[in-house]
């Protein structure tokens, strides 16, 4: 069974540009989460999808971040326009159930904004 995959693994962009990160969850997992780790800080929750619906987006930093989940399968996280403070590692995770279940993480996308 394939795990959670993320693309790209690294992205280097200039301030003001747009970047789109992609996450493919484990097949059959309705729950998809995005997290971010800024250097030196803890991993922080960004948002949660149940199928194609945004269930909780309380962790999204601001309206420069837009997440979508097409047809309840893969998800994209777009940052537009990117700022320096957006640099960090963006993790995606998926799970079958919401409660009392394990979230399986992807390898992360390291975003560097210059």
């Amino acid at each position: 069974e394939a795990g959670v995959t993320q693309f790209p693994s690294h992205s280097v962009i200039e301030k003001g540009q747009t970047v789109t990160l992609r996450c493919d969850p484990i097949s059959g997992h309705d729950n998809l989460y995005w997290y971010r780790r800024v250097m030196g800080k803890e991993i922080k929750f960004l948002l949660h999808f149940v199928k194609e619906s945004k269930q909780d987006e309380s962790g999204m930093p601001n309206n420069r971040f837009l997440a979508e989940r097409t047809g309840g399968t893969y998800s994209t996280l777009k940052v537009q326009p990117a700022e320096l403070e957006d640099s960090g590692v963006y993790f995606c995770a998926s799970s079958q159930e919401v409660f009392a279940d394990t979230q399986y993480f992807g390898p992360g996308t390291r975003l560097t904004v210059l």
């Binding site: 989460y33 803890e42 149940v50 269930q55 962790g59 993790f91 009392a100 279940d101 993480f105 992807g106």
Partner: protein, 115 residues
């Protein structure tokens, strides 16, 4: 503010030494508790988890953790570490009455095991 605290940011120890990593949380409700590990160049993976029942949980690779509700703690232990245990370890919590299972992480502990 609700938080997860990991007591050490960096730990260096020799092979065969015992390891204990502290984790405390400040949530007042019922929680699910996790330890995740990230080996160099790899993705985060689950070491062990506690949902209910026996507060002493055993995970992969010889790790165990004990949930002490009165102390709001979930410390990770391994009696004898190996060089391959070099990794970053993360304690995480979900509050079951909170929204939809989001994980709240501690800052992580970087563990280096020397030969």
């Amino acid at each position: 503010a609700q938080s997860v605290s990991q007591h050490n940011h960096h730990v260096i120890l020799s092979e065969a030494a015992s390891l204990e990593l502290g984790c405390n949380y400040s949530y007042g409700g019922t929680v699910n508790l996790f330890w995740y590990v990230q080996y160099p160049g790899q993705h985060l993976q689950l070491l062990l988890k506690y949902f209910s029942g026996d507060p002493l949980v055993k995970g992969i690779k010889g790790f165990e953790a004990e949930f002490i509700k009165s102390k709001f703690s979930f410390n990770l232990r391994k009696p004898s570490v190996q060089w391959s245990d070099t990794a970053e370890y993360f304690c995480a919590v979900t509050l079951i009455t909170d929204s939809w299972g989001k994980l709240q992480f501690g800052a992580g502990t970087q563990v280096v095991v020397t030969p």
